[in-house]
């Protein structure tokens, strides 16, 4: 017997979760959009931007988040980094999800050789040691802003592919695809008109999670020096630069880390809320009796 379930509607916590998450991501997005008005991320102010001893400055009215070791304004850099990190992360998230969904759907729907081939490929994709493979691809691909996008897409597509494949397969086995075939509909039309709409909820809840993971991956790659090339700021390479100053200027680490945390937490809150919006079952414990 399956655990007894109590059905419930869209709970208030789910809506609150989506709203808070959206607000966090929106706030970071606004700061990123306003970047050009927040200062010059490249201007090295060795005179007023550093202390008399040549150390980075803490927060002040002129520099709300302080300055870095080269006297650059941290807020301006973090805001610009937001543009870079968000656009790379979200672009890679969309591409990997689209690629994975396409692979999973085609493999699960058409079956046969295509299924065997694509799912073996997916297995390999899942077996790739993420960070190591990211480094290897960095060594192989030409440098540029699109390199991290390509790397993250290559590293991430297999996960949604597996997920969508399982779901598509379940639908194929449920038999209504066969029914549509019997009604004389073309197979690719069935895929787009019957299968895809059913996957919408799944894709919708997976998307923000995937975006959060992609933003984190971008940060990891930049931190390791495998992301966008310096001096273009990204949260990851800012943290990498700040690491050396951890002992005397921790704000160089904390500021970009906070931006990163707010973004990924916001995305995960959205994902959490969307998941709860379609509650499958609520469990309870017999030990409570």
């Amino acid at each position: 017997m399956a655990p007894i379930t109590i059905a419930s509607g869209w709970p208030i916590e789910a809506r609150r979760s989506v709203a808070i998450g959206g607000a966090l991501v929106g706030a970071v997005g606004c700061i990123a959009l306003l970047a050009p008005w927040l200062g010059d991320p490249y201007y090295q102010d060795f005179a007023a931007g550093l202390s008399p001893l040549g150390l980075p400055l803490g927060p002040s009215p002129a520099h709300p988040l302080g300055t870095d070791t080269l006297g650059r304004d941290v807020l301006a850099r973090a805001a610009f980094a937001g543009r870079v990190s968000l656009s790379i992360g979200i672009l890679a998230a969309v591409l990997s999800l689209a690629l994975g969904a396409a692979v999973g759907m085609v493999a699960g729907f058409y079956g046969g050789f295509l299924e065997a081939f694509l799912m073996r490929l997916t297995d390999i994709g899942l077996a790739l040691p993420t960070t190591l493979a990211g480094l290897a691809l960095t060594a192989l691909l030409p440098a540029g802003p699109l390199r991290p996008v390509a790397i993250i897409t290559i590293l991430f597509w297999a996960y949604p592919a597996r997920l969508i494949y399982n779901e598509t397969l379940r639908m194929r086995r449920r038999g209504f695809v066969e029914a549509a075939v019997a009604m004389g509909e073309a197979r690719h039309r069935i895929l787009l008109r019957h299968v895809l709409p059913h996957l919408k909820t799944l894709l919708l809840t997976y998307a923000p999670m995937n975006a959060a993971a992609a933003v984190m991956m971008e940060a990891t790659l930049s931190y390791l020096g495998a992301g966008v090339p310096l001096p273009t700021p990204s949260w990851g390479n800012m943290i990498g630069e700040g690491q050396g100053a951890l002992a005397f200027a921790p704000h160089l680490f904390l500021a970009p880390a906070a931006f990163l945390l707010l973004t990924t937490m916001g995305l995960l809150l959205i994902a959490e809320g969307l998941k709860q919006a379609h509650p499958g079952e609520r469990r309870f414990s017999w030990l409570a009796l």
Partner: protein, 320 residues
């Protein structure tokens, strides 16, 4: 005879869904009461309410006493050790009720370990005895098997052994034989009758099968859409049902037994109502051939005579 179970004006609801309404009945020591009803009539809810095993979120009004203990007036911690000692439960679907990763012997032995403080080896020996008591062949060997290695009948017997391990004064069995074939079902029923006669315990047996009722029960309680509609001795109910619903149940059962004479089987017209959409007044009225206007308005006051009770404005037969 001593009264083991006393249920008074019991009403159970899950959130806004009223599952049981104004149920009152008693089970005495030494008797088997069959609780009959269709799926969704609330019979499992009634059984679980008596054992205080309803899922959290259920609201219970009324009074339930088991062997003198008012279960709902006690704190949860005080009820816990009474389960197993006071009430033996045989739930639906033996396979799901057994833990798949523990040998059945261990699942019997743990009752002795926790309730009586026996050591593991003592408890194991007692578990083997308990399995032998429910007529499991080679109990030493079977005790070491996992649930998936047993047949359906053996699983049911193992559960029975757990339920009866501490010789509780009350056994509640929730359709335990439904999933079994007729032959195995007959064996289990005979076993329960024998164990009941030996121990003098009270048995509350839930079923939708009039054949099981006829073979097992001393008394019958008929539940329809959360209402108790008829109560009385088994022989009387089967020979002269008073409620139109009971009459229909008995008629379908008769037709099944006497089947194959070329006459069409009798089937009750319509469908049982779901708990969310129960009709007003007497819930059976949309399907009742004898219904009149007043049936739609109010649930009838129960009529009592002798050992019997019926809740109907127009009871069948002679009530003398």
């Amino acid at each position: 005879m001593r009264t083991i179970v006393r249920v008074q004006d019991l009403t159970v609801a899950y959130r806004h869904l009223r599952v049981l309404k104004d149920i009152s009945l008693e089970v005495k020591a030494g008797e088997i009461l069959a609780l009959v009803g269709e799926t969704g009539s609330g019979k499992t809810t009634l059984a679980m309410a008596i054992a205080r095993l309803l899922p959290p979120g259920a609201t219970v009004r009324g009074r339930i006493e088991v062997n003198g203990h008012d279960l709902y007036a006690m704190p949860a911690a005080a009820v816990r050790p009474l389960r197993g000692r006071l009430i033996g439960l045989v739930p639906q679907e033996a396979m799901a009720a057994l833990n798949p990763v523990l040998p059945v012997g261990a699942q019997v032995a743990e009752v002795f370990q926790t309730h009586l403080g026996f050591s593991a080896s003592e408890a194991w020996a007692r578990a083997v005895e308990a399995l032998a008591r429910v007529q499991i062949p080679h109990p030493e060997r079977v005790a070491r098997l996992y649930p998936h290695q047993l047949s359906g009948g053996m699983r049911q017997r193992a559960i029975l052994a757990m339920a009866l391990a501490l010789h509780p004064p009350l056994l509640i069995a929730d359709e335990p034989t439904t999933a079994l074939d007729r032959l195995t079902q007959g064996e289990i029923l005979a076993l329960v009758r024998q164990l009941q006669a030996e121990s003098g315990m009270a048995v509350l047996w839930i079923t939708h099968d009039m054949g099981v009722v006829a073979a097992l029960a001393h008394r019958v309680a008929v539940l329809y859409a959360g209402r108790l509609v008829e109560l009385g001795p088994c022989s009387k109910i089967l020979s002269a049902p008073a409620h139109p619903y009971t009459e229909a149940l008995v008629r379908t059962y008769r037709d099944l037994i006497a089947g194959g004479r070329g006459e069409p089987f009798y089937a009750i017209p319509g469908h049982p109502p779901s708990p969310g959409q129960r009709p007003s007044g007497c819930p059976f009225h949309p399907r009742c051939p004898y219904r009149q206007d007043r049936c739609r308005e109010r649930f009838p006051e129960p009529l009592r005579w002798g050992e019997r009770m019926v809740a109907c404005y127009f009871p069948r037969g002679d009530l003398g």
